[in-house]
C-alpha cells in the first residue's frame, strides 16, 4: 500500500467514515456538473424528495451539446435545447452557480474550473465526466463518476469509494522540438496499456513534468483515464501557485491564497513516500506520437512503423487487427502520409491558450490544404477571447481554419460538429474510438496541436519538425 503520497493525504483529509460496504465515504470539495449526465440525477433527487446539500460547492457549465456555430436560443437542435433548458431549471432551483454562455465564462468543464480558480490543490473534485482527472494537474484528487453517483454527491456532498493503489510515473529529461505533454501521455498509455491503470491512481513526477506549465500538466492528467487510471495528479509547486494567484477566486480573495498555501504544501507527496509501483519514462527519447488504431493505447512515434498485430501482446492482437482494418493501415508503414479530411483543434485535452498558440505558430503564413476541413474550437469563452486579442483568431482564419465557439464539439460528436462517412481526422482530442467523432466509419488520428496544424496544412499526417520553412509571411 502507498504511504505518504498526495493521494493518501488528500484521501485521509476527506474521509468522513467507513461505510458498511467497506468503502470510504469521502467529502467532495467541488462538484462540477454539465447538461448530459446531470439531468437524470436531479430527477432521481426529486423522486426521493431530496435537495442539493452543498450548492455552493457545486458549479455548472454547458459544453457537450452546445452548438459551436450559431448559439442563439432556442438552439437549432431540439434535443440540445431541451437539455440546456433542463440544466437551467435545475441550477436555478438549487441555487447553483452556472457559467452559461451569456456570462463569458462558459466552456468545457475541465477548462473553466481551473480558469476560475475553483480547481485547487488538495480538493476532492468530481464530475459526471471521465476526463475530470484533468484537475489532478493542480494536485487535486479528481475523478469521473456516473449519474447515480452524481445523485449521491448532490444529495450528500460525499461519495462512496474504495481506495486505489498509487503508481508513480517518473518522466525525466527534456522534450524535444515539436514534442509536447500530449506525447508523454500517449507514450505512457501505449506502454502501460489502456487497462494498465485500472485499480491505480497515477502520480506524474520527474523533471519533464515539473518543466511543464499548468496546461501541459492538464493535458497529461486529462488522459489518465485513457490508460485506465480514474485519477492522475501532479504535486503542486510554484508553477501551480503562480497560476492560482492569477485566477478570479484568488484575485477576489487574496487573503485566501496565503491562508491555503500551507495546506497545499502539506499535501505534496513526501520525499520518502511509498508507492505501489514506479515506472520511468525518458522524455529525451520521445518524438511526436500519433495513433494508428482505435484505442488511445495504439500509438507510435511519427517515424516508427505500425506494429504487426502478432508483434503485440496476445490479448492486444485481435483489437489491433480490427483497428488496422478500420483505419486501413498496414503494419510496417509509418503514419506519415496518412491522408486526412478534417483537422480538429479542440477538446478538454488540448484547447487552452498555449495549445492554440503553438498550433498558430505552425499555421502562420501557411494555408489549410484544399481538401481539408479545419476547425479550431477554443476550450472556453475566455480562451476564445484571449486568443482573439492575441491575433490567433486572425492567424487561423487567414490560413483557412473555421473559428468556432467554445464546447466539446467534434471530440465526441454530440453537436453538429461531426465526421461524415469515412472521413479521417487529425485530432487534438483524447479518444479515437470507432464512432467517437460522430460517424461510425470515421477515422481518428490523435496527436498534439502542432501536429494537427501540420496535418491541416499538408493534408496528411506530417512530422511537424520537417515542415519546410515558411518563405512568405
Amino acid at each position: 500500500m502507498s504511504n505518504g503520497t498526495l493521494y493518501d493525504k488528500v484521501w485521509d483529509r476527506h474521509k468522513v467514515t467507513q461505510l458498511p460496504t467497506g468503502q470510504d465515504q469521502l467529502f467532495v470539495g467541488l462538484h462540477l456538473i454539465h447538461e448530459v449526465t446531470s439531468p437524470q440525477a436531479f430527477g432521481m433527487l426529486e423522486e426521493r424528495d431530496l435537495e442539493v446539500a452543498f450548492p455552493e460547492l457545486t458549479h455548472a457549465t454547458v459544453d457537450h451539446i452546445v452548438p459551436t456555430a450559431d448559439q442563439s436560443r432556442p438552439y437549432g437542435d431540439d434535443a440540445a435545447e431541451r437539455m440546456m433548458s433542463e440544466l437551467e431549471e435545475n441550477v436555478r432551483n438549487a441555487g447553483i452557480e452556472f457559467s452559461d454562455p451569456t456570462t463569458g465564462d462558459q466552456g468545457i468543464v475541465h477548462v473553466i474550473g481551473p480558469e476560475q480558480g475553483i480547481t485547487q490543490p488538495g480538493k476532492t473534485i468530481v464530475c459526471g465526466d471521465s476526463h475530470t482527472s484533468t484537475h489532478g494537474a493542480f494536485g487535486a484528487l479528481a475523478f469521473g463518476i456516473g449519474t447515480s453517483q452524481i445523485r449521491d454527491v448532490l444529495a450528500t456532498g460525499t461519495i462512496a469509494m474504495e481506495k486505489q493503489k498509487v503508481r508513480k510515473i517518473q518522466v525525466d529529461g527534456e522534450l524535444g522540438e515539436g514534442v509536447e505533454a500530449k506525447d508523454i501521455i500517449l507514450e505512457i498509455i501505449r506502454r502501460l496499456g489502456t487497462e494498465g491503470g485500472v485499480g491505480y491512481v497515477y502520480e506524474y513526477a520527474g523533471s519533464a513534468i515539473e518543466d511543464l506549465g499548468m496546461e501541459g500538466r492538464m493535458s497529461i492528467c486529462n488522459m489518465s483515464i485513457e490508460g485506465g487510471a480514474r485519477a492522475g495528479y501532479v504535486n503542486p509547486d510554484e508553477t501551480t501557485f503562480e497560476w492560482l494567484k492569477e485566477t478570479d477566486y484568488f484575485q477576489e480573495n487574496p487573503e485566501q491564497f496565503e491562508e491555503l498555501k500551507p495546506y497545499w504544501e502539506s499535501i505534496r507527496s513526501d520525499d520518502d513516500a511509498e508507492y505501489d509501483d514506479i515506472v520511468h519514462i525518458d522524455a529525451d527519447a520521445l518524438e511526436p506520437v500519433v495513433t494508428w488504431g482505435t484505442t488511445p493505447g495504439q500509438g507510435i512515434g511519427i517515424s516508427d512503423p505500425i506494429p504487426a498485430p502478432e508483434e503485440l501482446a496476445e490479448d492486444k492482437q485481435e483489437t489491433a487487427r480490427r483497428a488496422q482494418e478500420h483505419m486501413r493501415v498496414e503494419p510496417g508503414e509509418t503514419m506519415e502520409g496518412y491522408e486526412i479530411d478534417v483537422a480538429f483543434l479542440g477538446s478538454c485535452t488540448n484547447a487552452r491558450l498555449p495549445d492554440l498558440r503553438r498550433a498558430a505558430a505552425i499555421i502562420k503564413g501557411r494555408e489549410v490544404h484544399e481538401e481539408v476541413r479545419a476547425m479550431v474550437v477554443p476550450g472556453s469563452q475566455r480562451v476564445q477571447e484571449a486568443a482573439k486579442e492575441e491575433g490567433l483568431k486572425d492567424t487561423f482564419e487567414e490560413a483557412g481554419f473555421e473559428w468556432r465557439n467554445a464546447g466539446c464539439s467534434m471530440c465526441l460528436g454530440m453537436n453538429e460538429d461531426q465526421l461524415e462517412g469515412d472521413e479521417a481526422c487529425a485530432s487534438s482530442s483524447n479518444r479515437n474510438f470507432i464512432g467517437r467523432q460522430g460517424s461510425k466509419d470515421g477515422r481518428t488520428v490523435l496527436m498534439n496541436p502542432q501536429m494537427v496544424a501540420a496535418a491541416a496544412v499538408s493534408g496528411e499526417v506530417t512530422d511537424v519538425r520537417e515542415l519546410k520553412e515558411v518563405t512568405k509571411v
Partner: protein, 211 residues
C-alpha cells in the same frame, strides 16, 4: 424527506447468457453519444451497441444482440477492459434496459463497474481462459441458465461450478442490499458537516445548517 427506497439484495443472479467478444469495448460502442441527448434513461435499451447492430440503413448486422437465440439473455459474458472510456452511466443503463442483470468478464473499467454497482448489476471477473470457455458454452447453449452466486463468488453452468472474483466492497454492497449509497451516506450528514468544517478551503457559508 422520504427515505423508504427499497434496495433489493443481489446475492444471486440467474438466466441465460450472451457473449459479447472483444477487449477494450468502450462505452461509446455500448451507447453512441448521439443517443445521450436525452434527459432520462428511459428507452435506452434499444440503442445498446447500436452501431454494431445496425448499418446506415438501419438494417441489422451480425451481432449477438440481434440473434433470436439470445433475446432472453440476462447474463453478459465479456472480455477484458469492458466499459472503458466515457463515464456515461447511459452505457450500463442501456444494457440493463435491454435485459442484462449481471456481467461476467475478464476485467472491467473502474467507472463502468461503479456505475453497474449503482444499478445493482454485479460485474464478476475470471481469467482469460475461463471466460473463453464460458463464451463458447453460452454459444452452444443459448437457452441454458447460468447462475451467478455473488456471495459465494461462483458461477454454475452446464453442471459445473467455477470460482470467480467479486470485488469485496461490491460483494458486500450487493449481498447486504446497500448498493444504493445515497441513503447510507445521507445518514451521516452530521459527520459530513463536521468534515467540511475541518477542511481549510470550505467556507463557513457553504456548509448547510443541520436538518
Amino acid at each position: 424527506m422520504s427515505e423508504d427506497i427499497d434496495i433489493p439484495e443481489v446475492d444471486y443472479v440467474s438466466g441465460s447468457g450472451i457473449p459479447i467478444r472483444g477487449n477494450d469495448i468502450d462505452t461509446d460502442q455500448i451507447i453512441p453519444a448521439r443517443f445521450m441527448k436525452v434527459v432520462t434513461f428511459d428507452g435506452l435499451g434499444e440503442f445498446a451497441f447500436f452501431d454494431l447492430r445496425f448499418d446506415e440503413n438501419d438494417d441489422t448486422k451480425d451481432h449477438p444482440m440481434n440473434e433470436a437465440r439470445y433475446q432472453d439473455a440476462s447474463i453478459m459474458v465479456v472480455n477484458n477492459n469492458f466499459g472503458c472510456g466515457s463515464s456515461r452511466e447511459h452505457a450500463p443503463q442501456a444494457l440493463m434496459r435491454w435485459g442484462i442483470d449481471a456481467i461476467i468478464g475478464e476485467g472491467f473499467a473502474e467507472i463502468f463497474a461503479g456505475n453497474c454497482l449503482a444499478l445493482g448489476i454485479p460485474t464478476v471477473t475470471a481469467d482469460t481462459e475461463t471466460i473463453q470457455e464460458l463464451q463458447e458454452w453460452v454459444d452452444e447453449n443459448p437457452d441454458q441458465e447460468l447462475e451467478v452466486d455473488v456471495e459465494a463468488e461462483t458461477v454454475t453452468y452446464g453442471g459445473q461450478t467455477i470460482d470467480v472474483t467479486v470485488d469485496d466492497a461490491q460483494r458486500k454492497a450487493l449481498v447486504d442490499g446497500v448498493w444504493d449509497t445515497t441513503a447510507l451516506m445521507k445518514a451521516n450528514a452530521g459527520a459530513v458537516r463536521k468534515k467540511a468544517k475541518e477542511l481549510p478551503y470550505v467556507q463557513e457559508s457553504a456548509i448547510p445548517e443541520a436538518e
